[in-house]
Symmetry: D2
Subunit: 307 residues, 4 copies
């Protein structure tokens, strides 16, 4: 398939959509990002990369980082992790406390905020403190991308913390149910830091390649996790990767993927490639408006849905 | 792959699991079904069929019928259908009224009871009355299976109705929100009748083949729906096919599938085959205990997960 | 105290409020009632009656009838009744199914719709059929008022039934939890009939006198219920008498009272009198706007709050 | 009436109940309190006091302190306070986040934890910092009782804070909705300190006298609040004073009252007296088991219910 031609086509078709939707505005650092930007990159198993738009421009990956932390936690805890967090879609907006209260402090899945906080808490317990934890998360992303330059924007993290009451509320609630082990403030801060990691679509599509190839990066040959775990992470991305619009996304796009409020989405075509797309304006569910459409166009044009 | 050998292996391994779980007992007709029974059938695109266990014994397909009615409604209403029912996982037990009340009578998806009732209601509006509707549903299943003998157990349907207060409650609630068009009693009765359709795993695996092959039965060559709709039905099965355990099922099995409280599960391997399994004892989520495990073994042994 | 002067004062002051709010419009028979009407009557223990406005004009008492049915059910079942219905405020709009589902089909109190349906169901079980039940309810109201003419508007009841899906939904839901004994349709119809009883404020203030005087009508001397039960009914009116605005009503008015969507409110000043007020336009909680204000003015002017 | 004789009678009758129920055990300081203790005091408008049991022994008043803070906040903010907290019963357990989330961070009433936290926050805003606030609260209680010795147990407050995640969660949640003005940690700590005030039943019955006499202490003659506000505080105690058992309490006891998990209950007989009772073992709703029964016996024996 001529992937470059397909990307070029999508790039042209998507232009009228770039100004639709609304950039995340709950923190100044994200609100300042200009609408109208777009990038899309594919990385294939043989290492070839196809891109359109601002594919080397870094953006805040936000919730996409939850895939990396979930991978690490699954590696360290295996089945034990599921005593603390489930793998079911939540059926409620991504930051809802309702379900958490009815379900005794066990979040539905690792991709809603509560679940990702528990995952970060579990990593801090494993790595003993929050500095080591952040090191481990960054180290993992750097190994995935073979790029030691990847870091996070401390200003974004600090700004998130200033508006972090909802997440602090979630963490204290889970602690009241006994499902939180470390200091609430330090853990939430670590969570905001890994959400503030900055990557480009080129980097992100490379980083997700291990999930398309059974846990092993086909370029470097590094085995990050088992094939069975890779498949399961893909399954959780498909059912829970897009907050309250996961069903819609599976329905329209048909690929395991994870979105972030920074406007990024990283997707996986099992056995073939990984795809990253970025456009900062969000639809009403908090997912990139143009990014979602671009991926839908991609699977329609290529037939590469998993269904 | 030697599918027969794989099925034989699964059959042997599954024996200790057949008595675990609990047969659905809310109506006498289902409660009377003996535990310990098991059947599994694959139908490939070339028409070859592999089976183990009581593969020609019919059982009550129950909620699996919702896939057939959703297909028909999607065919007749297309996008219009989504004004009345969503495609999001529900995050609540399958018969919950809570979400329905908060969401103004629009059920989350066509596979929870409320959603399937709306789909049946939409079909009755299309076919003008409930007799025609049931005819159309049965006709569709008979064409899918090329078997004019398939019917429903009127005794099961009548017995469901006697314990049908929860579904009557759901239907009246949706009617109070303006999302129900026909007589509540007649519509719920029609719903129970199509849930009471009886099929064997051989028949069911044949019936689902259109979803594995882009909407067209590869054996008869009949095009039932468009490829795009077939993919989308698969997506909804993956995210919503197993009540409150849809995430778990995607995580462990990794195939689009729909289960019923009669103990059946029908699954799809896109582009390759469809699979039906039956074992009447259910796990705590209302899905066949041994059936779920058998499918998990199948994807583990064959690597045929969609992820 | 010069009650007539106080009523006259209230009558004058309330004029600008009579057109505020909105007449109940979910059924044509209620929607047709003209705004701007007002009546208020006090009946004292010595039989003296003071009125202003259209005090002999009958209106649909609607939910006020729930006080009569609760009294009868308490008389027949005593503590046994509390296995089926509680006495706690609901904290949710009056027709919510949410709490009912979480609390296994046991309504919070006898004055929300679900609770009143259970009470009607319990009365039908006691009186053996719905005709006898309606006879008993009407007979009770006629004895309370010493007025054999009081009846219900069959047209209103029929019209309610045509829009009765929410109540049918509640009844079927309770039946699915085992908390409903009689035919759903017939019971809901009986419920609508007793809600369609028509009384004037003169009649209503007389009818509630037994609750102000320890269960015994001080005029006729008839003992209807024990003093202890009368006090308890007053307590339930205070905490639960006004749907989701019961706290507000207790806060501003400070009297046990029950309102109906027909615009009536009946209140009790223990040991002194009962008061009925009517004005059809409702506030956003479904209680008479001018009626609530008139009662607030009354307790402010007289100091006759229970607090 | 011979109040001493009535108290003596209650004291004797209540003995078999003193060991029933369970002392609050979520913090060590409260868990260490011995079951089996009991005290009850009445203070009349003329200053006469009647007591039984350990009426001069101080205990942790806990949530009873919410009446004092609500009084102060109502005095400083008047109607403005109701933009931040309602006066409706909650219909959910006392620390539920569910309602708070659905209702945009506005607590139902000032006596559930969320509401009392908002009240404390409002007081800190008024008094500018938390030290002044605590001074003001203690000063108010000391003036009410004419007793400068009343203070709080810092150890109890510190211990509460160590188990304070649920309250921290509530406070952060309200802050995320914009309904919290001061530092969460400092405010919650202040809340725990005023909950840790220690009083005997003698002191508590004296302290509540202003609510029985239109806002003015009839002994000292000090006017603390207006008659209208006093009545309204009584109304809120009646509808919301006992968590999820407020309806039951109104039903069985029939007096405005507030309970605390320390086992205390303070009640008001408007125009006559105030009553305090203490027995540390709690019923399943978190209210003193023997204390509730003792008050029920009191209103039964004296007929002094407000209904």
């Amino acid at each position: 398939m001529n992937y470059q031609a397909i990307l070029d086509e999508i790039y042209e078709e998507i232009q009228p959509e770039l100004d639709k939707g609304k950039v995340a505005d709950y923190i100044p650092a994200l609100a300042a990002v200009e609408k109208g930007q777009f990038a899309m990159s594919l990385t294939l198993g043989d290492g070839s990369v196809y891109s359109v738009g601002e594919a080397s421009k870094r953006f805040s990956i936000q919730s996409i980082s939850k895939v990396f932390t979930f991978t690490l936690a699954l590696e360290h805890y295996s089945r034990e992790l599921y005593k603390r967090v489930g793998v079911e879609p939540s059926g409620n907006p991504f930051n809802s406390l309702v379900q958490l209260e009815y379900e005794q402090g066990i979040p539905r899945n690792p991709f809603i905020n509560a679940g990702a906080l528990v995952v970060t808490d579990a990593l801090i317990s494993h790595y003993k403190d929050e500095y080591n934890t952040l090191e481990a998360i960054l180290g993992f992303i750097r190994r995935l991308t073979e790029n030691p330059e990847i870091g996070f924007d401390a200003e974004v993290a600090r700004s998130e913390m200033e508006h972090g009451d909802r997440n602090l509320s979630l963490a204290h609630l889970m602690k009241s149910f006994g499902n939180f082990e470390n200091d609430v403030h330090a853990t939430v801060m670590t969570y905001f830091k890994h959400c503030a990691v900055e990557m480009s679509t080129e980097e992100l599509s490379r980083a997700f390649l291990y999930l398309a190839f059974g846990g092993t990066d086909p370029i470097s040959g590094t085995a990050f996790i088992s094939a069975s775990k890779a498949k399961r992470i893909n399954a959780v991305m498909l059912t829970c990767g897009h907050y309250d619009a996961s069903g819609e996304f599976a329905y329209h796009v048909g690929l395991p993927a994870k979105s972030g409020v920074g406007g990024g989405i990283a997707a996986v075509v099992p056995g073939k490639m990984s795809i990253a797309v970025w456009s900062p304006a969000l639809n009403r569910y908090g997912n990139s408006h143009a990014g979602t459409l671009a991926l839908e166009k991609f699977t329609t044009k290529t037939g590469l849905s998993i269904f």
